[in-house]
């Protein structure tokens, strides 16, 4: 598998911005026109009613609070997955013996979706933040592990040899040769990890919300669940969906920006 890292779009000109906005705006217009054809007492959301819901949810502070809660959980769970994935991935990439031993375990757990371990997470950790964290950590762990292992194992042997002929110590070779050589792979792994972590937290909160029957500030996933099963508020659900999507997009953009700074020699 080859690792390709695409460049972030640098849209400096207003024209490029207009072009990027054209399709979303067109969709909004079509959506609104369609909504206007429906009966007045419909539950179907329109752009106008959704915007109204967004303003209301923001003003009460519910939405920002839920969002912060979810983002906080994602970042903590992501950090757990990142650290474990980096450490074990480095060991896997360095030691073929370790790799042979751990690979069957990894490969048998990897296809297991984070949602599939939710029952165990709930039994062990209850329905609160620890359960959510373990789920996000689990999801974030695998991409980081595999990308790190691949990056470390594919470091050009010649570069390590060159450093050895310059009297560079093992520890310094790890820091100054192996780490930078594996970095592009690791950054890609982190980006993938963050993507699945964000997906996992929404799913986890939705599910945990179902069990605990709602409550204050269970994150944005729980908020969606409450809208769905208690108030049947389509507008609220759509607002949550859009917010989740926008956050995912922003996170990805942030990663590409970080890539630009962490791996300048690739650009």
């Amino acid at each position: 598998m080859s690792v390709t890292i695409d460049r972030p779009m640098v849209t400096s000109s207003g024209q490029a911005l207009l072009r990027a906005l054209a399709l979303p705006v067109a969709l909004l217009v079509v959506w609104q026109l369609w909504a206007l054809t429906l009966p007045v007492d419909t539950r179907a959301p329109s752009p106008a009613s959704t915007a109204e819901a967004f303003v209301r949810m923001s003003a009460t502070g519910d939405l920002p609070l839920a969002l912060l809660q979810s983002i906080g959980r994602v970042l903590s769970g992501f950090a757990i997955g990142l650290v474990l994935g980096t450490v074990l991935g480095t060991a896997m990439g360095t030691s073929p013996a370790f790799r042979r031993n751990i690979e069957p375990i990894v490969e048998s757990f990897r296809p297991l979706a984070p949602m599939a371990i939710l029952p165990i997470a709930i039994l062990w950790f209850g329905t609160g933040t620890p359960a959510a964290l373990s789920l996000v950590g689990y999801a974030a762990f695998f991409p980081m592990l595999l990308s790190t292992a691949q990056g470390v194992s594919r470091v050009d042997r010649k570069l390590v040899q060159a450093a050895r002929t310059m009297g560079v110590s093992r520890l310094r070779i790890a820091a100054k040769v192996i780490f930078p050589a594996a970095l592009p792979s690791m950054v890609l792994g982190a980006r993938l990890s963050m993507g699945v972590a964000w997906t996992a937290i929404i799913a986890a909160e939705l599910a945990v919300g179902a069990k605990s029957g709602g409550g204050a500030s269970g994150g944005i996933g729980e908020m969606m669940f409450v809208f769905y099963s208690y108030s049947i508020d389509m507008n609220g659900i759509v607002v949550c969906m859009i917010v989740v999507g926008v956050v995912a997009l922003l996170i990805d953009r942030l990663f590409r920006l970080a890539e630009h700074h962490l791996i300048p020699w690739r650009h």
Binding site: L159, A162, I263
Partner: protein, 274 residues
């Protein structure tokens, strides 16, 4: 008298190297019964067809590869691994893609033993001098993938020389350069090696090349290798006076030596082309 008693700088005794094929495990003999003594201050060139084991010999001297049998010693001490006393310039340069030209040249000075005890000013000066030596001023802040093949080769050469090793191990170090740059750097290399100094002040150099004229111009002796298995065919002393400059290429003796080496590898070279 003392020359007889003194340990050679570098001694290879009956060195062989076999590589097992990855799947079949069938062993191929890359280098066979390679024995050579190199005195301190000698400039040795190794010539021979592709695949005759030149790089393999160099890797073993560098301590990056162990001989299958035989012994290699530096100053009488067996080689057990790599060390900054033996600087290596690899055939494919082995530059760090994430470091700029300047950072590559300074890598050993900053991270390895060669830079120990240097003040940061001395260190920067030394990097400056080597950037200039290979004429890379103006490209210092580029990354290796942004410069030409010839420039990459010069970066690798500068990195080797900046580390100031006792023994220079160079694997086709000027092969990617255009003819003019190549001639200039050949003379420059002789100067750095210590051609104008007394023998005791010279470094010891092992230089692999495809180019017979280059070998004759640079070397105190030329080791001609043949392949399958890689063996020493002949060691030819180059009795041209030093310091050498462009005029030496017009010397009749230069042509004689060139012809002699060519006749040694001609048959094999022809065989390799058909």
């Amino acid at each position: 008298m003392s020359a007889i008693l003194a340990e050679p700088k570098l001694r290879l005794e009956g060195v062989t190297k076999e590589f097992p094929a990855p799947r079949t495990g069938v062993r191929t003999m890359a280098v066979s019964d390679f024995s050579l003594e190199i005195s301190a201050g000698d400039f040795i060139c190794i010539v021979g067809p592709s695949g005759c084991g030149k790089s393999t010999v160099m890797n073993m001297i560098a301590g990056l590869d162990k001989p299958s049998s035989g012994r290699i010693a530096i100053d009488g001490v067996p080689v057990t691994g790599p060390g900054a006393d033996r600087g290596v310039m690899f055939q494919d340069y082995a530059l760090f893609p994430w470091l700029t030209v300047r950072e590559n040249i300074g890598f050993g000075l900053r991270n390895g033993t060669p830079g120990r005890g240097l003040s940061s000013k001395d260190l920067e000066d030394r990097i400056d001098r080597h950037v200039e030596l290979v004429r890379l001023n103006g490209s210092e802040n580029k990354y290796p993938h942004q410069v030409s093949g010839g420039m990459r080769q010069r970066i690798a050469l500068a990195r080797l020389l900046a580390n100031g090793p006792d023994v220079l191990l160079m694997d086709e170090p000027l092969g990617a350069l255009d003819a003019q740059t190549r001639l200039v750097l050949q003379e420059e290399l002789l100067r750095i090696w210590g051609e104008t100094e007394i023998r005791e002040k010279r470094k010891t150099a092992v230089f692999i090349t495809h180019d017979i004229a280059e070998a004759v111009f640079l070397a105190d002796s030329v080791v001609v290798m043949s392949s399958h298995p890689g063996r020493i065919r002949r060691v030819l002393p180059i009795d041209l006076p030093r310091p050498r400059n462009e005029q030496i290429r017009a010397d009749p003796r230069f042509a004689e030596l060139h012809e002699e080496i060519w006749s040694l590898i001609r048959d094999e070279a022809y065989r390799a082309t058909v």
